[in-house]
Amino acid sequence: MENRDINITTLANGMRVVTDRTPWVETASVGIWVGAGARDEEKGASGIAHFLEHMAFKGTTTRSARDIAHEIEAVGGHLNAYTSRESTAYYARILKEHVPLAMDILSDILRNSTFAEEELAKERTVVLQEIGMTEDTPDDIVFDLFQETAYPDQRLGRPVLGTTESVSRLTRDDLTGFIRQHYHPGRMVVSATGNLRHEDICALAEKHFGDLPAGDPVPAHEPACYKGGDLRQVRDLEQVHVVLGFRGISAHDPDYYAMAVFGTLLGGGMSSRLFQEMREKRGLVYSIHSFSASFRDDGLFGIYAGCTPSHVPEVLPVICAELVAVSSQVTDAEIASAKAQIKAAFLMALESTSSRCEQLGQQMLVFGRPVPLTETLARIDAVDKDKIHALVARLLQSTPTLTAIGDVSHLEAYENVRKQLAL
């Protein structure tokens, strides 16, 4: 089942190289995962990590923005990037013979970007368009509000894209300063999967990143301080979007795997409790699912529901009743079902070199090692009823975070929600 051929090497400057060889495919995925994201932004500079990710494609000392896109796409490759709260990833998908080109371009955009003022001005408008697009998407907005309410006035609570005001203020010096401060080899991982050899990737990493200086120590992270609370926005929408959540668990928490099982059985699919109770049985919602986000020192667990205004009064009481029930009445059959679903998802993800590459890059950043599939499955298998019950009790002890947008006039009062969740 493992079906992975994983090797790790650490360069002298601390940069880690991890590969997973899949010789039966014609393609490869290669990327640089950086342990810096929106959470590393100073107050007032919200959106800088994401803006930097955009600007990395806008020209280097030897390549114009056009050259960057042109060179990788001329060989059929695809170059992209994403920013999250604790990491930023730059990656390429290419035919196996073009891995050296991909590494050359990835290192160039990370090390030699010029951030020309003209490009900065143009890309700022692109990012503002992206923010505008998000503002037209209610189920994106409600999640940003949720994060902000869970972690008010904190780095972890700010939107990854930043705001129109903060992005409008960002300068070239902000970008170069952010790189200098956070893009250190000790916080970077080269991850590569596909039809390739580990020693070749190591040689390329050494060539392109071997002389990258270790950099100054990274400033201490602002510790996450979960608060919770209630935030509702009235908007003229067809639906009401509701997120109810709690303080979750960090990526290093012993309950990490119990959370995966719990999330699946509570709101992970058509057979989950919430889907069955709220959609199948009562027809209250069109969409409902649970989610969890684990950061390095804290986490969030939540439930999203989208419903018509007429169903709003019932939504939160039913969710609360399910949460209270699940704190003491999980069955062995439910747990077995959730485990089987997680196992199937892992197996399917192995088909894709991109999934393998991303998983490795993230695991190296978060856990400092690739977690073998057999270990993951064994830990999933070890989850039992007691662990789930204890986890739910722990979640419900925290102050709830409740956010909603739409016609919220008949949404259950926050204090009532708290009362209904009292164990």
Binding site: T27, A69, H78, M270, S337, E351
Partner: protein, 444 residues
């Protein structure tokens, strides 16, 4: 892990066609039952019926209750149904030992569905919630406006509404099942950890028992074109500009797909470079050819908004740039662009070959809509033979038609449809490396 052999079709006595892609050792199987029955087959006034039929089948049969089906999904298996414009597909992702059970469920619900009134009431309620949800989504609103204007007064152009959903009865469902759920209009595609002989034996034992019937004949939709705009209070104006284009059986389809790639398929595409990179007008812009059974749609999609302090409207700037770039492809395609499109397609094929879900969809849809499974290596060979002149000719064919234009959001500054038609008639200048960008000013 992947199978290099081209998929072969096995036809059962009742007319069901089966294509199998063996992937020993993958640990699971992707299976899709593709049926020539979709939104375009909905009678006028009953829009949403095809989707309702598919959803209602998932409520089970006397042999497999809804609970049985959900319990099956609890064990790591997944079953769902999707209804699209041209086809419905019943999908299953299962552990290999559960393939027979999945096939039995599909066979049973098609042969003997419960179609209970209470289930219908529930599904109608859900469909209405989904319609409300779609109205919040600018992309869904645009898709509805575009198809309504592209295929005016035809079933393929209509979208389900609360009214059409409320009219659906159990009798309508039964009649559609009788007419459209026939094995000769079905393709079973299987990709994964199951050998071909076993897969065919299981299909014979299950779907092979469906009674033989003649498949209904469809009328080909006719592209009409025109203009449709909906003013809404949103941050961005979303637009779609669409033209009739080569379908899945048209020999120009390869060139049309490459045209989409060159115009708006990547970061190095013309529209991305001109509209986003050079002018910063959008976050996303794309062009692509949607090849359907009786023809295609070549669609340009973009969205832009303005800073409150902006003196000019981005949308006013963007439309002439898009039109200029479309027209330019009727004369200018560089060898580098051609090569890039060919390599991109080669890469996407190589990636798709790794995915059993992708292979399943490819085998199922090509066999259903094109009449036979297409071999990717043969398709790749054809892409390699396309020339810049082929793409010029196909661009000329596509962009000489009267387009369909749809817009949602703030409409101020949006050029009129007549202006767009005029922009699409302008003869482009021969492009040179130093040629200036097209004028920003709206043309009168």
């Amino acid at each position: 892990m992947t199978n290099a052999k081209a998929p072969q079709v096995t036809t059962l006595p009742n007319g069901l066609r089966i294509v199998v892609d063996e992937r020993p050792g993958s640990g699971f199987v992707n299976m899709g039952l593709y049926l020539m029955y979709g939104n375009m087959d909905d009678p006028q006034g009953l829009e949403g019926l095809s989707c309702m039929v598919g959803d209602m089948l998932m409520w089970g049969s006397p042999s497999y209750s809804r609970k049985n089906i959900l319990d099956f999904c609890k064990n790591g298996n997944e079953i769902f149904v999707v209804t699209e414009t041209e086809h419905t597909h019943f999908m299953a992702t299962v552990f290999p030992e559960n393939l027979e059970n999945a096939l039995s469920i599909f066979t049973s619900v098609i042969q003997n569905p419960l179609l209970l009134q209470e289930s219908l009431a529930y599904e109608k309620h859900m469909a209405m919630q989904n319609i409300k949800r779609s109205r919040e989504n600018p992309k869904a609103v645009l898709a509805g406006l575009l198809k309504a204007i592209a295929f005016k007064d035809q079933s393929v152009g209509r979208t389900a509404s609360e009214e059409s959903i409320s009219r659906i009865t159990r009798e309508h469902l039964a009649a559609q099942l009788e007419a459209f759920y026939v094995p000769s209009a079905m393709v079973l595609a299987i990709s994964g950890d199951k050998d071909k002989e076993s897969a065919i034996a299981l299909a014979t034992k299950t779907l092979g028992t469906l009674p033989t019937k003649a498949a209904p004949v469809r009328t080909a939709p006719i592209f009409v074109g025109g203009d449709s705009r909906l003013a809404q209070d949103r941050s961005q104006t979303g637009i779609r500009l669409a033209f009739p284009s080569p379908g899945i059986n048209d020999s120009d389809r390869h060139a049309a797909i490459m045209l989409g790639q060159i115009l708006g398929g990547s970061m190095d595409s013309r529209l991305f470079l001109e509209v986003r990179e050079k002018r910063g007008l959008v976050y996303g812009i794309s062009a692509s050819n949607l090849a359907m059974q009786h023809g295609g749609l070549f669609v340009v999609a973009a969205g832009t908004g303005d800073d409150a302090k902006a003196e000019s409207k981005n949308i006013e700037t963007m439309i002439p740039v898009i039109c200029h770039e479309l027209l330019d492809t009727t004369r200018n395609i560089t060898p580098e662009e051609l090569q890039r499109a060919q390599n991109s397609i080669r890469m996407s094929f190589a990636q798709a070959n790794c995915s059993s879900a992708s292979m399943c969809a490819f085998m199922g849809t090509t066999t259903l809509l094109a009449g036979q499974p297409r071999e990717r290596s043969e398709s790749l060979r054809i892409y390699q033979t396309v020339t810049p002149e082929d793409i010029n000719r196909v661009a000329q064919r596509i962009f000489s038609a009267k387009p369909a234009f749809a817009a949602v959001g703030p409409l101020e500054g949006l050029p009129s449809y007549e202006e767009i038609l005029r922009l699409m008639q302008k003869e482009p200048q021969k492009k040179t490396p130093d040629s200036p960008a097209p004028s920003m000013a709206p043309r009168s």
